[in-house]
Symmetry: C2
Subunit: 356 residues, 2 copies
């Protein structure tokens, strides 16, 4: 059942549920309402798995995951040999860099805020405009972007081939391929590693799994607002986002600062007028740890981000208490970050490929 | 006994030893010569310990080491919040960055090659010019250097105080201090972590420990050359360097490229004319993995570095075979790098201190 529509039936149903919630909150009929809220949540959201999902066309293996981890942390993938995937998607910092937009090659600034790599495998597309269908494709773009790692596929492959430890690991990870060390396989190995970057065990997931005490009363109120006010229409699925595209400013145009006229979002990908200023709904997992917010990264405070969304997407004014409840609920989405052993990177004994 | 002098007694003694080595190499009296080489090596070099040494004025604790590790990996110590200690002293890359000189704040280039942090605790002073007596002092300099992390003590402390997880860890690590979160304690925590960055177990250390089969015949020949040709006068102690200062170009002036006239080395620290163009003998542990070489970082090939040293420090021409033997010996200095779990960094829920 979708909540995108606004037909009468749904509106009435929602009113009924709000009434039920109210009864619960007054402490007179908790169980039934609680059950309903949980059921409604379960119909919209999934639990973050604790093991990586199967990747179409990219079977997982220990070797490939380890190779991907090395590549993720290796600054030698950049032309300067100083910038790694981890520079902008810090695995110690919830998968982000806490910058409005990232600093890349030659200290240039990127054009959009760095999204988290944690749970990114659960998104149906990658990037703010969804232009990459998979992490295997996504990961190859920053390596080549002039504002980011500024490298070329040919130099990356030459660099890796000059490092015997990598050659061995690529062969082990891609035994079918005659040319195991290829740019395409860099992307596949990165995707394999990133598939392990999951944060299960959040209190919200405990709740979805049936532990109704995992959320506080306030957080449950926030969850109810999140569903009732249609936040969950876009921020849906296991990642609470990452699955669909929506115009930023459905109800009211955001300030030009938050929606710079030069960045048309998904329209640049599809060419469709309907996609003008549309962006992929950002996943909200671990959102309390991924400031700053929006594609511009201009909003640092989670509450302010919520207020902005309510205004520009829903043309609504929520009560202060409802906003507080929403923010409290969003904080329950923080999961457990995996423990990662820092890779000792394979060394080239003589540096055949030197930084550019 | 020092090998710095060149008196007749020593020269004769050395000739005798070379003769003994020759006998060994001819396979006619191996044991005695082997024993002598080992004894001579043991009198000059130490074995890398597998546990951190005690630090004067900075007692180690698990909490302090963990805090130091977090700080080491945390880019928020830099004013841009993008550069960490690990950026230039990559723990996955033998503690270096494989650049001639590092790229720092605003993409500026540093003036000297980044030394490895591995085993640095065993040096008697830090930096190429030895201007820091300890790692606790050393670590605070790059944080403030305009070409590196470009921060100030006040901003660092304010940043850390805005991160509750850090405040708790500082308190636990420095229970005696009223103001646990201090810039000085940042240095102490970094030093505590760096004291664990040891690479024991190299084949040379196995040899020093008594396993005479741990080195090949060629490597033992190289070790003999290393001692006989006075390399070990400067590259001595457990780290094969890091203990004393020597003019770069004792015998012949290096090319101005390798010894830029603007960098007077240790003279800038002591003001003494005798220290003009003197540098701390670089430690040679894991040297095969720490290219490029010299304070300029201009020499990428280990063999070329050895040839240069022989020419400018010893005014000597070694046979090609002796150079090969030296390089083979140097490769036996590669130890086992510790396994490091990548820290999940404490988060500030709202970013109170933003990148500058």
């Amino acid at each position: 059942m979708s909540f995108c529509g606004q037909n009468h039936h749904l509106v009435r149903l929602r009113r009924l549920r709000v009434a039920l919630c109210l009864i619960f909150l007054l402490g007179t009929g908790g169980f039934a309402a609680e059950d309903t809220l949980l059921a409604r949540a379960r119909s919209r959201f999934g639990i973050i798995p604790s093991t990586p999902p199967a990747l179409p066309g990219n079977p997982l293996s220990e070797s490939k995951i380890e190779l991907g981890k090395m590549l993720f942390f290796d600054p030698r993938l950049s032309s300067s040999q100083t910038i790694s995937c981890n520079s902008c998607h810090g695995l110690g910092l919830a998968g982000v860099d806490h910058l409005e937009t990232s600093i890349g090659h030659s200290w240039k600034k990127g054009s959009r805020n760095s999204p988290s790599v944690f749970n990114a495998i659960l998104n149906s597309s990658q990037f703010w405009d969804g232009r990459a269908p998979s992490l295997a494709e996504q990961g190859l773009a920053p390596i080549q972007a002039a504002l980011e790692m500024n490298n070329t596929p040919a130099v990356v492959v030459a660099t890796l081939k000059a490092i015997p430890g990598y050659v061995a690991l690529f062969r082990k990870s891609f035994p079918e391929d005659q040319e195991a060390v290829s740019f395409r396989n860099v992307g596949k190995a990165l995707e394999a590693f990133e598939a392990t970057l999951l944060t299960p065990g959040s209190r919200f997931d405990q709740y979805l799994a049936g532990d109704e005490s995992a959320l506080t009363v306030q957080e449950k109120r926030g969850l109810a607002v999140f569903i009732n006010r249609d936040c969950a229409s876009c921020h849906k699925g296991t990642n609470l986002g990452g699955l669909s595209f929506h115009r930023f400013g459905v109800a009211r145009k955001p300030s030009p600062e938050l929606l710079p006229p030069s960045d048309h979002g998904r329209r640049a990908v599809t060419g469709q007028a309907a996609d003008d200023y549309a962006f992929r709904a950002p996943p909200l997992r671990n959102v309390e740890l991924t400031a700053p917010y929006f594609h511009t990264g201009l909003v640092w405070d989670l509450r302010e981000a919520v207020v902005t969304m309510v205004r520009v997407q829903l043309d609504s004014k929520l009560k202060e208490q409802e906003i507080d409840d929403l923010v409290a609920y969003l904080r329950s989405l923080t999961g457990k970050f995996p423990s990662i052993s820092y890779p000792i990177l394979p060394e080239s004994v003589i540096q055949n490929v030197r930084p550019g």
